[in-house]
């Protein structure tokens, strides 16, 4: 068993969280609230330490870059949200700049990756390699094509749903979505189990000192 207090605290924190599996209890709630406090503080400390202080020292004081002061003051206006309605509207200015900036970027950069996806959806439905017909590859491409088109038709509401063709197509689309969701579930199991195994490994090996 480990003699390192750090390992012990880690193990105890982990067990406090696992106590929730029995039922909700003060130990779990304590760990949960400690985490909330630490996580919120950590973001502030990192920003203070590696963003605000160096910017103030290196850019504002050392180089006199006054624009940072201006934008810093705008950023301070965000805190008026915490005051009464008489002042809180001032926070709309930094929010407007921040949101506007994000919107401009989104409009500029969102379509490109999407268009690459669309371009990749135009596929060779009769695959021939070095003059030889590839049956497996052709089958795969048809599966991809049919699944994609039927899923799109499932989300396509411009055409009346009572058409037989549209109904049939969207039914296949529903199955294609189920296949995707099934794959997602299968992988989710792997992910969730991994998280627990990580903790179990810590408890058994690092804390209790089992050797494998």
């Amino acid at each position: 068993m480990s003699r390192d207090p750090k390992v012990w605290v880690t193990a105890i924190m982990t067990l406090m969280i696992y106590s929730y599996l029995w039922k909700e209890n003060p130990a779990y709630r304590l760990a949960e609230h400690v985490f909330l406090g630490l996580a919120a503080a950590h973001a502030v400390v990192l920003t203070w330490d590696t963003a605000l202080l160096p910017r103030i020292h290196n850019d504002i004081i050392a180089q006199g870059k006054w624009q940072f002061v201006l934008f810093g003051l705008l950023g301070l206006l965000m805190y008026t949200r915490l005051t009464s309605a008489k002042w809180s509207w001032l926070s709309r200015y930094p929010i407007a700049i921040s949101v506007g900036y994000g919107v401009g970027y989104s409009l500029a950069v969102l379509p490109r990756p999407w268009l690459i996806q669309v371009r990749n959806s135009f596929r060779d439905l009769w695959v021939v390699k070095n003059g030889v017909f590839q049956a497996q590859a052709t089958f795969d491409e048809w599966v991809f094509f049919i699944c994609l088109m039927t899923v799109l038709s499932y989300f396509f509401f411009t055409v009346a749903r009572d058409l037989k063709f549209v109904r049939g197509s969207s039914l296949i689309g529903r199955y294609a979505i189920m296949v995707a969701l099934g794959a997602a579930f299968g992988n989710t199991v792997q992910g969730r189990i991994s998280l627990f195994l990580g903790r179990l490994q810590y408890l058994l090996i690092d804390w209790l000192g089992f050797v494998i």
């Binding site: 982990t14 503080a41 605000l52 407007a96 500029a108 995707a180 579930f185 998280l195």
Partner: protein
Amino acid sequence: MRREVPIFIATVVALYAFVWQVSHHAWNTGWLTQTDLWRTFMVQVAVFLGAINLTRLHANNIRRRREHWIFSVICIVVLWSYMALGMLGNGLFTSGGNNLPTYRWIHDAMLVPIDSAIFSLLAFFIASAAYRAFRVRTREATAMLVVAVIIMLSNVPVGEVIWSKFPTLGQWILKFPNAAGMRGIQIGVFLGTFAATLRLFLGLERKYLGA
């Protein structure tokens, strides 16, 4: 003044960011980097908002003596003492606080493992859900279940021991029907996101400015 001017500013800023981002000539001026840094600094200055909001929320719990208020006290104490340690531990206005041994000790022994343990609870819930909720109620649900089981078996070595082709089958499902299905969903999601962004750009969506 209180509403119209911010909306006007948002539109002008959005136009600026859009034009500068798509224009390579504008890119070369280096202006975008400057404004990126200013805008980033503006956001960074507001970083205390999260901590203050959390404090207000829990202070309210304490004031009203809501159930479990004592944990709110703990949360506030932990928040401000950890912040004080990180910001002042190395001296006020001196950086490097987040590298202090005590600060890092708390980070490694408490912050990270609690985070990990909370998420790992999901392993238990997914086991319970698999037993109670994953039922062959409809044909679609059956298709989903069969695919899920194949993917699960393709993800672990025991699947390979049972049937050596499980990994290949799993990879095929991921690469073709799954990728096509996901792409169909994502094309729809993109159209929705883009429409929402356009609404913001045109000033049709103003909720972000608050009441």
